[in-house]
């Protein structure tokens, strides 16, 4: 598909030939994740996380659809129906823990996938569309995860929903009516729970659709690789099957081991105890915190404590929280360095690791109570976050002197490339 030397699908069995003529679906699969897709041979283990993310999505859809058969999205019984799943449904406890921890696993995988993209410049031409679709997927995931956390209708479900939907109230003029329209009331209640359930069921299928576009867009230029040097000849690539099926396969085994260890031995470690208390609009929890995967953005939201000229602090926080993700859409045009991989960008590399540490600090502060010193720490960390993407990256990419690149992927792997020696780039 993407390279002239890609294997062609040639079914030998008459039945497969018959199908291929009528509906070339096996051909599509063959070209997408089979022997028909040539992949750079030097992909390291950070490239496993795309497949893992796809697996997590599938896992969430399967467990979620079964859970939906037993769950009742009504504010009167939602909490008890969740406990019914935990106590009376055959293997219900396993399904629910698999789904709840599956969400966490999905975000672990996706954050690694995103930071892989940051480091290796995966967002750069010609893969901008892959990146843009990826950010869309991440936004959809956040919406889905947020609404899913509301469904058990515990204390954190309710108060989390109240805080996050309250953010819409910060929008000038239309904020309050918009918030009431979204919730179907003045506070989260049955109307909100019902529509959250409906959307929580719908959005994963939208995500699946965008994932198909994401992979489609990826297959036009083909996968990037740790050197960031584009594929030049057949010796640079190996077919996806069997090479990367084998590599992703055992990576999936490692992932499943860690995931199942959480699921069976510490299933509530990442949850908040308050969510085992039924929602009570009359009693506010001491600390309202979202799930851990929202903590960095929650820290940014709470970092704005003073009005800025005529802009209220709350509106600034909301603007900044959404901008913190929206800025990723502009990344392909903010980082102008023609060199993709961080391995060959000494200055960029230092700032990348600062960003990793910064994100971890923001995450820690987002989970901590809204008190000093956490607020001040998150303010400094948020300053770096915005400065990194909006100021440092554009400047560094203009003035940095990158290290010399290898001639080709083959040279990077084998130490020599015969074509380079002949001075004859393919």
């Amino acid at each position: 598909m993407s390279f002239p030397w890609a294997n062609e699908y040639k079914p030998s069995h008459p039945l497969m030939q018959w199908i291929d003529e009528k509906l070339p679906l096996p051909r599509l699969v063959y070209n997408a994740v089979g022997a028909g897709y040539p992949v750079p041979r030097n992909l390291n283990y950070w490239w496993n996380f795309g497949v893992l993310a796809g697996f997590c999505l599938l896992l969430q859809i399967v467990t979620g659809v079964i859970l939906a058969m037993h769950y009742a999205p009504n504010a009167l019984v939602a909490f008890d129906s969740t406990e019914h799943i935990m106590r009376d449904v055959n293997w219900g406890w396993m399904l629910r823990y698999a789904h709840a921890n599956g969400a966490s696993a999905f975000f672990v995988v996706i954050y690694i996938h995103i930071f892989r993209g940051f480091f290796y410049g995966s967002y750069k031409a010609p893969r901008e569309m892959v990146w843009l679709l990826g950010v869309v997927i991440f936004l959809l995931m956040m919406a889905t995860a947020f609404m899913g956390y509301v469904l058990p209708w515990g204390q954190m479900s309710f108060w989390g929903a109240k805080v996050i939907t309250g953010l819409f109230g910060a929008i000038p003029l239309v904020g309050e009516p918009l918030q009431q329209w979204l919730l179907g009331g003045f506070a989260p209640d049955n109307a909100a729970l019902n529509r959250f359930f409906s959307l929580h069921f719908l959005l994963p299928f939208v995500i699946a659709g965008v994932v198909i576009l994401h992979i489609w867009a990826l297959h036009i230029p083909g996968s990037s690789n740790p050197t960031g040097v584009e594929v030049k000849s057949e010796s640079d690539t190996v077919p996806f099957f069997p090479y990367f099926v084998a590599k992703d396969g055992w990576g999936l085994g490692v992932f499943l081991f860690l995931y199942c260890a959480m699921l069976f031995f510490a299933p509530n470690a990442l949850g908040h105890p308050d969510n085992y208390i039924p929602a009570n609009p009359m009693s506010t929890p001491a600390h309202i915190v979202p799930e851990w995967y929202f903590w960095p953005f929650y820290a940014i939201l709470r970092a704005f404590t003073s009005d800025f000229f005529f802009i209220p602090a709350k509106l600034m926080g909301v603007l900044a929280m959404f901008s913190a993700i929206l800025v990723w859409f502009f990344l392909p045009w903010l980082d102008r360095s023609p060199v993709r991989s961080g391995h060959f960008r000494p200055t960029f590399r230092k700032f990348f690791w600062l960003l990793v540490i910064d994100a971890l600090i923001l995450g820690y502060c987002g989970g901590a109570p809204a008190a000093e010193p956490f607020v001040m720490i998150s303010q400094i960390a948020a300053i770096y976050y915005f400065a990194h993407f909006l100021i440092i990256l554009p400047i560094v990419s203009s003035i940095e002197r990158p290290d010399p690149l290898p001639f080709s992927i083959t040279e990077a792997v084998l130490g020599k490339d015969d074509k380079a020696a002949l001075g004859n780039p393919a």
Binding site: R87, G249, G253, C260, F264, F265, E372, P373, P394, L414
Partner: protein, 279 residues
Amino acid sequence: MIRILSILVGLFFTVALGWSFANGAYTAITEPAPATAEHEFHKHPKELDLASNGPFGKFDKQQLQRGFQVYKEVCSACHSLRLVAFRDLKALGYNDDEVKAIAAGFTVPGLDPNTGEANTRPGLPTDYFPKPFANDIAARAANNNAVPPDLSLMTKARHDGSAYVYSLLTGYQNQPAELLKHFPDAKTPTGLHYNPYFANLNLAMAPPLTGEGQVSYGDGTKATVDQMAKDVAAFLTWTAEPKLDKRKQTGWPVLIFLVFATVLGYLAYLNVWADKKKA
């Protein structure tokens, strides 16, 4: 052009954050947040060694039965257990007849089959534990304006919940002189009871386990306050997570299978890639 815009937007956010930081730092220096009694004197739960702890832990059914007895004879006077049905007690090692007898010992709301009027009847195994109060208002009226919470999920609804229940039950004490010296306003109000394991230090529940022999255990275990607190903490660990044993029993074969499959997968990977590694 986009980079100039981006730097301007970046400056907008960083300056706004810097302004917030400056204000916060100024406040922190000029008016440092006062220490509170809750912050200084609240304690984390004591260590509690339960048979069900750890990846190999399993419920001690004898202990669960003792804990159930404490719940039935002490806690159930005020606390409901609305998510647990009598039939569930079979997991504690009771047989069908014993479960029927336990259920029949409780009075549950019912309907007169002839007139349809509300009445009461002896419980059946399919019934859930009855609530001690008709509604929250009645519960408040009887308990110094505090509603005794349902206990079904208590050990999962608090940090380190099993140890929390145990610590709370054994943690009642007089207010430390140190506390009253530094925080004279934090004196425990009349009708409340000082307990450093409770989040705001003062709770409405009077010490429920008062002395040795408050319940008499059938298995000969000495019913000290500490023992009763441990047993009821174990019982409430079971009510919150009745599938705990099953979960761990399932987990081990799954993990062992995954190790096996992953090793095979790794060997397959080495095999497939053998001709592509460095010459």
